[in-house]
């Protein structure tokens, strides 16, 4: 760690039609430090980074790298100057192998035109060894886990001798162990004198890893201070500009009688094996476990979108089959999926279409015609009760923020009037304020008598919202704990059983 400034962004301004996205924002990254950039979604973190990488052109302000003023034309230009970014949603050529991805666009050549596979392999292996990454450089990207793919992206940055590396939400889909590995790599980079810009919503992590913290709010710079002077409450307060006394809402739901009984559920094509549990009316049941433990697979199996090889599902004591999503919906199940973009939203369709797609039958006037009036009315209800921020019902959903998209999809499922609502990572990629609102909605729904199953990789959130937590490991259910009487440690110990 030194006091030498590696990168300085000075009074950056950026206007979009009607909004000032960045207002005189400054950022100084010291050599050999991890600098956390914090703020709610829409605070301007991504816009600032996009200005740095030349994806957006800044309206005014200066960027100084190593004492020289720079202005990158595009991310590639930035990369060649040693400024790299590892995106939250990895953009990689998934069908190609690891080394192709690392050396893409600058393959080592023999005789000036033949790409040298051997050279690539050697160089890749060298970087991997330095960083302690165990992946095979010849492995196809799509066969690797998200964590490994992220490591590849970091290795790529290292291969460019990057001095500034931006990590955008790097841990949002990693397990605790993988996070540990990532942090070791970050430490290594820090020792080499790199400046790391670390964007994340996870307070615990930020406080653990960073040296400096900059907080942004509504496109302005709020403060930059050493991490040691922050507490979680202080960060939250600065981020939202008001005091958030509780990260979780008060639990008002009262579990009633058992309505869903699952016996010996097994999957045909994934590791889920012999999973049995019960859910009560008005109860929030959590599913914890490491990534790959089969949490998502259990509820997908229950919902009929992955093939079942055995087991029975009883709703109110009556056996239901749930052979496909349509049947599951008819039986009163709903599933908010993990991957909002690929299996949740219909990006180019508007809010109204997105909200009503699962309950079109309700709007039938006669045999064929759908009533636009009823559809609009229900959409209006969803916008109001979910507190969705949108200019109108006719807005394309892709233009909304992640939190608002999530609320639209939640609205879609509530319109099907489900009895069992399954939520897979309902707050992934959503900022603190919106997270609280989602928790609040979940507790409210449980209070109204819905049985809720919630899958999450964030233990604090499961402990804060759920009544009971089922812990999965290696496709099996390894334990069930009372959320009010357990600890993160107990759950982690259970989750690590079958690894």
């Amino acid at each position: 760690m030194s006091d030498k400034i590696l990168l300085e962004m000075e009074s950056i301004c950026k206007d979009f039609p009607g909004v000032r996205a960045l207002d005189n924002v400054s950022l100084k990254i010291r050599e050999g430090t991890v600098h956390a950039l914090m703020g709610e979604n829409g605070a301007g973190k991504s816009t600032l980074m996009k200005c740095l990488f030349g994806i957006y052109t800044k309206d005014s302000g200066k960027i100084i790298l190593d004492g020289k003023e720079v202005s990158f034309k595009n991310p590639k230009d930035a990369l060649e100057h040693g400024v790299a970014m590892v995106h939250q949603e990895l953009n990689q050529a998934l069908k190609r192998n690891v080394m192709d991805n690392i050396w893409l666009g600058r393959y080592p050549k023999t005789f000036g035109f033949v790409t040298s596979e051997r050279q690539m392999y050697k160089d890749t292996k060298k970087i991997f060894d330095e960083l302690g990454i165990s992946a095979d450089p010849k492995m196809i990207m799509s066969k690797m886990s998200v964590a490994q793919r992220q490591m590849v992206e970091i290795a790529k940055a290292v291969s460019y001798n990057a001095r500034i590396i931006v990590l955008d939400e790097p841990t949002s889909s990693l397990t605790e162990q993988e996070v540990g590995h990532l942090f070791r790599i970050i430490d290594m980079l820090r020792e080499r004198g790199c400046g790391i810009i670390y964007i994340s919503h996870k307070m615990e992590e930020i406080l653990k890893i960073s040296d400096d913290i900059t907080v942004m709010r509504d496109g302005t710079h709020v403060t930059t201070e050493p991490a040691s002077s922050f507490t979680m409450d202080k960060i939250i307060k600065l981020m939202v500009g008001r005091e958030l006394t509780n990260r979780f809402p008060e639990k008002t739901n009262k579990p009633g009688e058992v309505i869903l009984e699952v016996e010996g559920l097994s999957s045909k094509y994934n590791q889920v094996e012999d999973v049995s549990f019960k859910v009560r009316r008005g109860e929030i049941l959590g599913f914890a476990g490491l990534a790959g433990a089969g949490r998502t697979e259990v509820i997908e199996n229950l919902f009929g979108i992955s093939s079942r090889s055995g087991g029975s599902i009883k709703l109110h004591g009556k056996e239901v089959k749930n052979r496909n999503a349509a049947e599951a919906i008819k039986n009163g199940f709903a599933l908010l999926t993990e991957e909002r973009r690929s299996t949740g939203i219909f990006g180019i369709l508007n809010i109204c279409e997105n909200t009503t797609i699962s309950s079109l039958k309700k709007y039938k006037r006669g045999k064929l015609v759908l009533s636009d009036k009823l559809r609009r009315k229900d959409t209006e209800w969803a916008i109001k009760s979910m507190r969705i921020k949108t200019p109108s019902q006719r807005t394309q959903i892709r233009t909304l923020s992640g939190g608002n998209q999530q609320k639209v999809i939640l609205g879609r499922w509530l319109l099907t009037e489900p009895e069992v609502l399954m939520l897979d990572e309902p707050t992934r990629g959503i900022d603190v304020g919106a997270k609280f609102e989602i928790y609040q909605l979940i507790v409210e729904l449980a209070s109204k008598g819905k049985a809720i199953i919630m899958v999450s990789g964030e233990l604090p959130e499961l402990l804060g919202v759920c009544d009971r937590i089922c812990v999965m490991s290696g496709g099996k259910l390894v334990g069930e704990v009372d959320a009010s009487r357990t600890s993160q440690e107990e759950i982690m110990a259970l989750a690590a059983q079958n690894v």
Partner: protein, 349 residues
């Protein structure tokens, strides 16, 4: 806020930007108006009764096939078999409705069949091939490009074999019964002194039905959802395979109708009937903003595209531009139209 009010609140650069966007986004229509003015100036007969009716009726003849293909494009697919299906249906319809006294009748001993029966047969053939297209696309997860490329060949083979049946020996089929030609090409209304053929009204009815299906039924909503994001549609409880199959069946029915009309419209039907119709239909769709991005398209866009394309074809002929050159101009127009359309879906940076 009305858009005039909004325009007033803008500053200078915003206005310039807005004007530029407006110009680019509506350039097709401006081009259309400019083209009409220029052609009219050079060749004053262009905007006369017969010419207008000609453009309208040519558009009407091509509308059903374009409406059918539009569905496939909304699913990010395509349909290469459309033209050959039109050809097969046209030849079958014609052969079943030849005048009794006609010397080269394909089935000499066959009595005059009722029109309705032949119409139903026409729809059934279209629907059947559409069902095969849809079933293979949905069930085997194949791209419709491959599936319809195959059925195009199969249908063409079937058509050639059909033309060898009876006394026909591969000749073209003409001498149609007057009840048939009257039903299709007859007229009860004239524009100026030029009669408007009946099939213009049929195309209009079909368009209204299709608008209804696209916008007011669960099937229509599901079609757009599947086109926009099939995985999300599946999770949302849409039967994706069924929707894909039905879209192609509906398209097949549209080709059946086109074939039934086409046979009577051109009077003499051979193996070449319907050749490349799908290409004009696809071009019309994309010009009209039905996008290969998936989930995007409007009936009025399809109508606009079909009319625009016909207008260009007729206009080029009016200007007596060399037939070979016409192909080049058509190609360029399609390219430019799509490039402009694509601008709308790019993520702005």
């Amino acid at each position: 806020m009305s858009f005039i009010q909004r325009y007033k609140t803008m500053d200078k650069t915003e206005r310039a930007n807005y004007r530029k966007e407006f110009f680019i986004n509506n350039s097709l229509y401006m081009f259309l108006i400019a083209a009409v003015v220029v052609i009219q100036f050079i060749s004053p007969h262009f905007l006369s009764g017969p010419s207008i009716v000609n453009i309208i009726s040519l558009s009407a003849a091509n509308l059903p096939i374009a409406l059918g293909i539009a569905g496939a494009i909304i699913l990010t697919g395509t349909d290469l078999s459309a033209g050959r299906i039109v050809g097969l249906v046209a030849c079958v319809s014609a052969s079943l409705l030849q005048a009794t006294g006609y010397p080269n009748k394909m089935f000499p001993d066959m009595p005059t069949l009722p029109l309705v029966l032949v119409f139903v047969i026409a729809l059934a053939i279209g629907a059947l091939v559409g069902l095969i297209n849809g079933f293979c696309t949905a069930k085997f997860n194949l791209h419709p490009f491959i599936v319809t490329l195959s059925t195009q060949l199969i249908v063409y083979g079937a058509l050639l074999m059909y033309l060898m049946i009876g006394n026909n020996n591969g000749q073209s089929i003409s001498g149609l019964d007057s009840s048939y030609t009257g039903f299709i090409t007859g007229s009860f209304l004239s524009l100026g002194r030029t009669p408007i053929p009946n099939y213009v009204w049929y195309a209009l009815i079909i368009t209204v039905i299709m608008w209804f299906i696209w916008n007011k039924t669960a099937f229509g909503k599901n079609m757009f959802a599947v086109g926009s994001n099939p995985d999300a549609a599946n999770v949302s409880g849409v039967n994706v395979k069924r929707v894909i199959t039905l879209v192609f069946v509906l398209a097949g029915i549209m080709y059946g109708i086109t074939g039934f009309i086409e046979a009577a419209r051109i009077g003499s039907n051979s193996a070449a009937t319907g050749l490349n119709y799908e290409l004009d239909a696809i071009a019309a769709c994309v010009i009209g903003g039905v996008s290969f991005v998936g989930g995007i398209g409007k009936i009025r866009g399809v109508i606009m595209g079909v009319v625009l394309l016909r207008l260009i074809f007729v206009g080029l002929t009016f200007l007596s531009i060399d037939a070979n050159m016409q192909y080049i101009i058509k190609g360029l127009i399609i390219l430019v139209a799509c490039a402009i359309d694509m601008r709308k879906y790019l993520v702005r940076k």
